[in-house]
Amino acid sequence: MQTTICTAKASYKKAPGLLELTNTHLQWTQDGKKTPAVRVPHAEAFSLFCSKDGAPQVRLKIGLVGDDAGHNFTFSSPQPISITEREKFKKEMTMIISRNRSASELAPKLALSTPPPAAPVSAPAPTASDPKALPARIATHRAASVASERRAATPVLTGIDPVSDFRLRKKVLVSDPELAALHRELVISGQISEAEFWDGREHLLLAQAAFENQKKGKSGQLVDPRPETVEGGEIKIRITPQLVHDIFDEYPVVAKAYNDNVPSKLSEEEFWKRYFQSKLFNAHRASIRSSATQHVVREDSIFDKYLEKEDDGLEPRRQVTGDIDVFVNLGATLEDHGQTGNDKDVTMQAGRQRGALPLIRKFNEHSEKLLNSALGENSSKRRRVDMKEYEYSQVDLDDLHDPEASNGIVLEMQDRQRYFEGRTNAPEETAEKLDLKSMILESKANLFNWESKLNQLKIERKSGDAALLSMTQNVAARLDVRTKKNDIPEGLFRQMTTCQTAANEFLRQYWLSTYPPTDVQTVVAATSAQRGAKAAKMIGYLIRTREKVDAIIRTAQAAGFDPNRIEVAMKPLLDSVNWALTSYQNRTNPRV
């Protein structure tokens, strides 16, 4: 039987509902529904974040084990009540979470020789650098922009909640310093809103999201715990739960030894201490280097039992079974005819470097293991099904096929009938209007006497020359620019670039708002009124561009720098600004 500890009205994903904390679960039920839409067992809660006191919205975020995104609740009662409600939840959840944490940290954490002050195992303390800690900040930030703007929210990517959306945006900005500078310049200074800034840049977010969602495989590196030397000549190996996991994964025999001996014969600490001193460990390191240290290593009655014979014979100890793909079957060639000829010379006899063989085998096995962990066991069986096609694919030269001769891939679509019905109706009417006969006659008339016309066609030499001349001048001018040193003072230059990028951004926003929306990925498509307002706002910014440029020119004059050059440099920008201004004027009052 469940007992409810506390309840509060809260919205989740913008839907109003009721948040409850029972003795086993945290659950949220949408208003008017019976079953809870979100139900989190206590054991799964891993982290907790709150919006700042004084923020317009009172929020609580629960991070789950293995899912940082978690759930985000907004308390919907009026301010003072919601805050007390949240505090209550916070208190309860903090207790639950700390209980969970201490359980998960039971994993072994100790070190050889002197147990070091164990490095904090993934301490989830909300620091500034931690993206998870940011919702609080963003809430205030966005609140400001939301208040000042009419568009309800930033362009939200479908299927991504605002929090992770923000995280994505932050990542994009961090990875692209130039964009970040622009963002600082425009958004943080309040010139344009966050939403506007990202409008038209959704692809960056999508790319980032795709990048993050890509399932990452295991890292390829071999498990090779490198000892660090501390003062006093002692060697220290830092053991993290991750390392333990990797070692067990890589060397099942160690896992077996662990199961057999801990804690009955050895304590956890003792176990690792002895393992790292044993021959077994040195065998596992599988390097030439370790063979040198071999005789330093002490006998170990426990671990030496698990020691296997070195796999350094010409034939592997682990015999391969099952069929081998005929196109890579080297053994078949070996068996194809009796051994003939003289032995190979010493350098060409494989496996003479005995010490390297276990290493080589380990590489192959490790790679295979990694592959299997990602792909499952070898899929050769499945391939056999279509042997013929596989055979042909091995010899086919694909560019020799006529590309037009192929049938292409049939597009499978639902309701195909309806699609074509809808399409064929409209063009039929227009098609009927066309009079084929008159068209043919007309084109015939156009073509009449084409030969003599073609003969009469003369290309004016002058214009060709002029074009060539202008091109030459252009090239010469560019060369001139290249060869000249850029002697604009740095401060001034920076001002110019900022002015340029900012104006470019305004231009982009302006044109974006004037052209019909094409992007389907934004959920919130702005209405035409909103777009008009945005365009007007941008024009407001753009009008000021002239003043800014003038200001720069004045600064240049003050600094004793030739203002004409600034003028020339900024001219293209001003031109495009003017172009935008004229177009805006034409649009707003076309009669003028």
């Binding site: 890292s219 390829g220 590196q221 071999l222 390097s287 030439i288 010409l314 034939e315 592997p316 391969v320 081998i324 196109f327 890579v328 079957n329 080297l330 053994g331 078949a332 060639t333 070996l334 068996e335 194809d336 005819h337 009796g338 003939t340 000829g341 003289n342 032995d343 010379d345 010493v346 350098t347 060409m348 494989a350 496996g351 010490g355 390297a356 063989l357 290493l359 080589i360 085998r361 590489f363 192959n364 790679s367 295979e368 990694l370 592959l371 990602a374 792909l375 070898n378 050769s380 055979e391 042909y392 091995q394 010899v395 030269l397 694909d398 560019d399 020799l400 096929h401 006529d402 001769a405």
Partner: protein
């Protein structure tokens, strides 16, 4: 597509054709028409096999002579590929046949592949090389079969082999093209032995595909290839190593454990003779009288199942002579063998290196043991006869004796072109003797001579067979056509780069003196690391020898270089065991398909470098670490070089350079298949920068090595590679058709042009001829005479 070359209609199983392929077919046809031999080099990956098969099948089907095709390749994967290619071709021909009659003709076309008993065995028992072979012979030899059939249950028989006998010979397998996998499948389904089915169907096939050894190694060729008629067309594909196969097939190594085993076998034979003397003396008498008549009769009724070993030398006339009297009697022969083995054993006790010619060996042998040359020559045949008479089983135990007998026959047959080298120690600084008696063939033309003599058209072809004149010189034949084709490309599909120094400007080289220098090892390593960062999917790296690869892998691991590679790609390494390496290869391919990407480390002239292709994503870059020279300290190699110099005037350095470069070219050439495929070819050694080295590369590779890319440091090479990959990854906008890809129209255009050229040529000939026939005016025209002011 279908087109004509002269009057021969060619069916080519694609819609387009590369110009190289067309040219190749024209030259091939010229060779066949002239019934001569040819050497053709065609760039790797431009569809050599399909052009070859397409032309020859067209030729076979069009002309009534029906010349058979013997197609030899190096490795089983390559045989399987050729068979798949053929199967596809015939399917295409059936599909586009003009009428039912010609379709039926295509359907009756038969092509088979042959490999060893082991590879084609479906008997569920043993699965290990030598044992399968011996057990198969035990179960299928005629004596055993007779016994088993006469008295079922008395001995074990192979059911699959027995089932074959119930079928009508000549229709064991239906007509069509059968890959090795197909034949195995069919055998399983019908319960017949695939190996013997193929062997017995050989007289009925139009095309047989097997490995070089089946034609070049006299021990095998005598059994499987003797029935082919003289007009058969012989093709050696991937023939760049053919000289080595020739040499191998006539060389033998003898070690002390082998001699010990031979002694045991001789003793066993002696016991067996004593036993038979008491039970079935007539048998021995019978054999004796047969041997008096001469070997030919003695062996004539032999069939496939009974052959234990064949004579390792080919001259047929030898077989017609009678066996010398002193080894005709079984017990005499056994005593003879014993004496010979004992002699070899005493020779092995010497603790210094001995090199001598066969003649001096025979002289010494005669002085010590009174063994004459003549009986020695019959040693192999006599042993074969004896083994058959005694109905010996477990033949694998006699393999050492068999080798000794082969050695005896070879050493007493050839005077020139061979050398005996006794090496008491494995390496120079070994202290425990492990003597090996090398009987080494120095002249590759000896083994291939019978092939050239017997067959009218022999085609030697490969992707890398430069310089072309080397092969006719080494193999002693005169080709009627000798051609190499450039690669026509609309954009450079591959980028050869020569890296001569690391980013730190230290020269890199696999030269023996510097190869283990840490700076060189590190620079080699950083090439691998850098390429593993920028190249997608698969990278293949080749080392000059196993020894070097194994030591460098260990060194890289200790230097942490491989850890860097692990970050980007998986690592697979060739191991001494073939099956283990095959598994690694399979996994390598999976990693490339999956996008994880992998690096394969292997050895030039090793197992992987021969016959495994790394096309498309399986090899976006090949790195050749060092120049794959042979080990020049090897005594055998030294002897061979000396022989080449004396007999054929091929300088040592020239041959070594040629040999290294053909292997390097072979390794890097494996990355391309088709012209849309692309890859990087990295030659990492400062010696590759030398013009004389590069000149030995095939033309199609060499023509794309620019001056700038022939002397690079690692960082420069990486920059170039990045640039190349960026451009090559773009969609090729320009149409390749017409330049590097021909439609049927382009072929016709080319043919017309050819014709016009030919006409012009003839016209010119006639014109000049006309003048020559006329009065000779000493080249002074009339007008000149008039103008001349006297």
């Amino acid at each position: 597509m279908k087109f004509l070359i002269d009057d021969l209609p060619i069916i080519f199983p694609y819609d387009r054709i590369y110009p190289e392929q067309y040219m190749y077919m024209c030259d091939l046809k010229r060779t066949l028409d002239a019934t001569g031999h040819c050497v053709l080099e065609m760039p790797s990956g431009t569809g050599k096999t399909v052009s070859l098969l397409s032309l020859i099948v067209s030729y076979q089907q069009f002309y009534p002579t029906k010349r058979k095709l013997i197609y030899c390749s190096r490795t089983v994967p390559e045989i399987e590929k050729a068979l798949a290619e053929l199967k596809r071709l015939i399917e295409y021909r059936i599909k586009y046949a003009e009428n039912e009659e010609s379709a039926a003709k295509e359907r009756n076309f038969m092509g088979l592949g042959l490999t060893s008993r082991k590879n084609l065995c479906i008997h569920p028992d043993e699965k290990k090389g030598n044992v399968v072979d011996a057990r198969c012979r035990d179960l299928t030899n005629s004596a055993n079969c007779e016994k088993g059939r006469a008295n079922p249950g008395s001995t074990e028989l192979c059911d699959w082999h027995e089932n074959l006998g119930k079928l009508e010979p000549g229709s064991l397998i239906p007509a069509g093209i059968w890959t090795l996998a197909d034949v195995l499948e069919y055998g399983r389904e019908k319960g017949i032995c695939p190996y013997f089915a193929v062997r017995r169907m050989m007289p009925f096939v139009d095309i047989i595909i097997y490995s070089f050894h089946y034609l070049l190694d006299p021990k095998v060729a005598d059994q499987v290839s003797k029935e082919f008629s003289k007009d058969a067309i012989v093709v050696f594909d991937e023939a760049h190593n053919i000289d080595n196969v020739c040499i191998e097939s006539l060389s033998i190594d003898i070690t002390r454990p082998m001699l010990d085993s031979a002694v045991r076998s001789v003793t066993k034979l002696g016991e067996k003779i004593e036993e038979i003397k008491t039970t079935d003396a007539a048998k021995l008498q019978d054999e004796y009288s047969k041997l008096v008549e001469g070997l030919q009769e003695g062996l004539s009724e032999e069939n496939d199942e009974d052959s234990f070993m064949a004579n390792p030398v080919l001259p047929d006339d030898l077989l017609n002579e009678a066996i010398p009297g002193n080894i005709r009697k079984a017990e005499h022969f056994v005593a003879f063998l014993k004496r010979f083995v004992e002699y070899l054993k005493t020779r092995m006790r010497v603790l210094h290196v001995v090199a001598e010619t066969p003649l001096s060996f025979l002289q010494h042998l005669k002085d010590i043991t009174y063994i004459e040359r003549r009986p020695l020559r019959f040693c192999a045949d006599r042993l074969q006869s004896l083994v058959r008479t005694l109905e010996v089983s477990r033949l694998d135990e006699y393999s050492a004796l068999q080798k000794v007998a082969s050695f005896a026959t070879l050493v007493s047959t050839y005077e020139k072109g061979f050398l005996l080298i006794l090496e008491p120690f494995e390496t120079d600084n070994a202290t425990v003797p492990n003597p090996v008696f090398h009987f080494t063939c120095l002249d590759p033309s000896l083994a291939i001579k019978p092939v050239f003599e017997r067959f009218s058209s022999v085609v030697i072809t490969s992707g890398t067979i430069s310089p072309l004149d080397m092969y006719p010189k080494m193999l002693q034949f005169t080709p009627v056509v000798q051609e190499t084709y450039p690669m026509t490309l609309t954009r450079n599909a591959f980028l050869p780069l020569v890296i001569t120094r690391g980013s730190d400007q230290v020269a890199i080289s696999s030269r023996f003196e510097v190869r283990n220098d840490p700076a060189v090892v590190r620079n080699f390593g950083s090439i691998l690391v850098e390429y593993s960062k920028i190249v997608p999917d698969g990278i293949v790296a080749f080392f000059p020898s196993y020894l070097y690869m194994e030591s460098i892998v260990a060194a890289w691991n200790d230097m942490g270089i491989l850890n860097e590679v692990w970050k980007n790609k998986l690592i697979f390494v060739e191991t001494p065991d073939a099956n283990e390496t095959s598994i690694a290869l399979e996994n390598y391919r999976r990693a490339c398909d999956n996008g994880r990407g992998a690096v394969l480390l292997s050895v030039a002239r090793g197992k992987v470098s021969e016959g495994i292709d790394f096309d498309h994503n399986y090899g976006r870059a090949v790195i050749m670490f060092g120049v794959p020279y042979q080990y020049t300290e090897s005594r055998i190699l030294k002897a061979r070089l000396e022989y080449l110099r004396d007999a054929y005037r091929i300088r040592e350095s020239e041959f070594l350079g040629f040999d290294a470069m053909r292997n390097a070219a072979q390794c890097v050439g494996r990355v391309l298949r088709g012209k849309t495929d692309w890859g990087l070819m990295v030659f990492a050694d400062k010696r590759f920068a030398r013009a004389d080295k590069r000149a030995k590369l095939p033309r199609w590779i060499n023509q794309y090595i620019t001056e700038t890319s022939s002397n690079l440091s690692t960082d420069m090479a990486i920059t170039l590679s990045k640039l190349f990959m960026r451009t090559i990854s773009q969609n090729p906008n320009e149409n390749q058709t017409g330049i590097s890809l021909w439609t049927i129209g382009d072929i016709k255009k080319a043919q017309e042009k050819q014709k016009a050229l030919g006409l012009e040529q003839r016209q010119q000939d006639r014109d000049t001829g006309g003048i020559d026939d006329g009065y000779d005016d000493g080249g002074i025209e009339d007008q000149m005479l008039i103008d001349l002011d006297v």
